[in-house]
């Protein structure tokens, strides 16, 4: 074993890139809520793109290295300590057997990622993925969140170089974000006035927000219809139930549902929404699907072109 969980914090889950091709038996996709931070964590450890890492929500996790290894922490601003001393996120750290890594509670951004060198945490895949979906009891160690006492395996890491993500490439976690929306699905069931209401007001993240969906509060947005014949739901779909309060559906969403939907949030912005806490604000801006594709390609190119900065050994 390479890492022991001393304390699991509020919610810590093993995640790889997500579970695909299983919607036909009702399994959701899971996967990291903030894929950019997740991919940076793996790159810092020289892992392949979808290697299994830990997603820490809100904070409070404490790990102990069982042997020499390298870890990297990225994502929301949770104070990082190694053996009690403050340490930097967005870089690789070399740990020795017995060293302890600890994440405090988030200041800004509520999802952080801990990746480990040697190809990520070595976990058996369920339905082609290690992503944990607690609601389904699928993935992770036993279908559930990490718990104190859990021991995680990883392959021996031959690499010793440590790296840092350049400051310019690190995302800023804000308290108010604009979510780009590709209008679609039942958008025509929302009148012009209702669409204006939706796109020209801000909404607040309610305390009913989790990996399944983020329920927002704000002006009531009304659809002309109450429900539809149940149909497939994609990542980021914005469903508007009869109470007029939108719900943005996230990684652990139900695969089908019958509420009208006004469109879907661009995944790049969904990652920002996933970093917000109750009380934070969002507004929506419509974009075409072509703009969405351009934005995805640009973000991907930028990520691939960015160079990590080598750190001298510690």
């Amino acid at each position: 074993m390479s890492v022991k969980v001393i304390s699991a914090g509020i919610l810590s889950l093993l995640q790889d890139a997500g579970r695909f091709g299983q919607h036909q038996i009702g399994l959701t996709s899971g996967g990291p809520m903030d894929p950019l931070a997740f991919h940076w964590a793996n790159r810092l450890c020289a892992n392949s793109a979808g290697a299994t890492a830990i997603e820490v929500s809100v904070g409070g996790i404490k790990l102990e290295a069982q042997r020499a290894l390298r870890l990297a922490v990225t994502g929301g601003e949770m104070p990082l300590k190694i053996n009690g001393s403050a340490a930097q996120c967005w870089q690789t750290h070399s740990l020795n057997a017995g060293d302890r890594l600890e994440l405090g509670y988030s200041q800004r951004g509520c999802r952080a990622y801990i990746a480990i060198g040697g190809g990520g945490f070595d976990v058996a895949a369920d339905f082609g993925s290690t992503s944990t979906v607690v609601r389904e009891g699928i993935g992770g160690l036993n279908g559930g969140a990490l718990q104190a006492g859990d021991e995680l395996a990883s392959h021996v890491d031959m690499n010793t170089q440590c790296w840092r993500v350049p400051a310019a490439e690190r995302p800023l976690y804000r308290k108010w974000v604009t979510l780009r929306v590709i209008p679609g699905y039942q958008q025509h069931a929302f009148s012009r006035i209702q669409q204006r209401l939706f796109f020209h007001n801000s909404f607040e993240v309610s305390d009913r927000c989790d990996r399944m969906g983020y329920r927002l509060t704000g002006p009531e947005v009304r659809a002309d219809i109450d429900g539809i014949l149940s149909e497939g739901i994609c990542l980021g779909a914005i469903q508007v139930p009869a109470d007029g309060q939108p719900i943005v559906l996230m990684n652990d969403r139900q695969t089908i549902g019958g509420y009208p939907k006004i469109g879907s949030v661009l995944s790049l912005d969904l990652a920002k929404l996933a970093q917000l806490l109750p009380g934070d604000k969002v507004s929506f801006a419509p974009i075409t699907i072509d703009c969405a594709h351009n934005a995805l390609h640009l973000a991907h190119s930028r990520f691939m072109a960015a160079q990590l900065e080598p750190l001298c050994s510690e």
Binding site: F20, G21, Q22, H23, Q24, I25, G26, L27, S29, D126, F127, R135, E136, G137, I138, I182, P183, G184, Y185, L229, S230, E231, G232, I233, C234, L235, G236, A237, Q254, T255, I256, G257, K261, G263, S264, L266, S267, I289, D290, A292, H293, L296, H297, H300
Partner: protein, 231 residues
């Protein structure tokens, strides 16, 4: 045919306005053709009553190319037989102790409990969709006389194996979960078992028939009555 944008990586195909076996067969037919046409560009498919959600990798393709592939799948021979689907028999222990809404449903339908149970077994149901939870198969359509709206207040916990009716749909709860459907019995057959292959006894397009069993058979088939009352 209607192809609509659903999201950055998703196109929705609508095949009709309502659930019926012909529309559902067409959904299945197109769902079976798309993997060969899209290959690794295809991320996932969500077939439902009268629609098919096509999820693709937006870094490998775009909505225009996927639309073309969908049109190709749609224009292939429509009369070609979609695979017929298997007939799966599911045993059900129908009783008031296993189906707490059975009496209310019978009263609503002005029938005896025996008549409700007989009607539920009479028809062959089609698996229209799988979703909501792993292994939750939406079956339809039940006889109009035994259709019933969802409960005003959903139960906090519906037991695993509960056989239920909502509107003209029926289903077996694959695991204990909250739920608002009317419970009429319990099925001992596991609807979702991640450790077996296949993990589900049915897939979309299959046909299901329910067969009544008594309490003894239910227990010997591994069925468990939920302790502590159903409510």
């Amino acid at each position: 045919m209607n192809i609509h944008v659903a999201g950055e990586n998703a196109l929705m195909i609508y095949f009709g306005q309502e659930a019926n076996p012909a529309v559902s067969a067409r959904v299945q037919q197109v769902a079976q053709r798309l993997p060969a046409l899209l290959g690794e560009r295809l991320l996932d498919l969500v077939p439902s009553y009268a629609s098919l959600l096509v999820l693709f990798n937006p870094l490998l393709t775009d909505h225009l190319a996927v639309r073309k592939a969908i049109q190709a799948a749609l224009s292939e021979d429509k009369s070609a037989e979609a695979s017929e689907g298997c007939l799966v028999e599911l045993p059900v222990y129908y009783a008031e102790e296993s189906g707490p809404d059975l009496a209310a449903l019978a009263e609503r339908a002005s029938m005896s409990i025996e008549e409700v149970v007989a009607l539920h077994q009479r028809d062959e149901y089609r698996v229209y969709a799988i979703g909501f939870a792993p292994g939750f198969a939406y079956l339809g359509q039940v006889d109009e006389r035994i259709s019933a709206p969802r409960l005003a207040t959903p139960r906090q916990k519906v037991p695993k194996g509960a056989v239920a009716i909502a509107d003209r749909q029926t289903a077996v709860y694959p695991a204990a979960s909250p739920g608002g459907w009317n419970l009429i019995g319990l099925c001992p057959t596991p609807m979702f078992d991640p450790s077996s292959d296949p993990s589900m006894p049915v897939s979309v397009g299959d046909r299901v028939r329910f067969v009544a069993i008594d309490k003894g058979e239910f227990l010997s088939l591994g069925g468990k009555l939920p302790g502590g009352g159903l409510l």
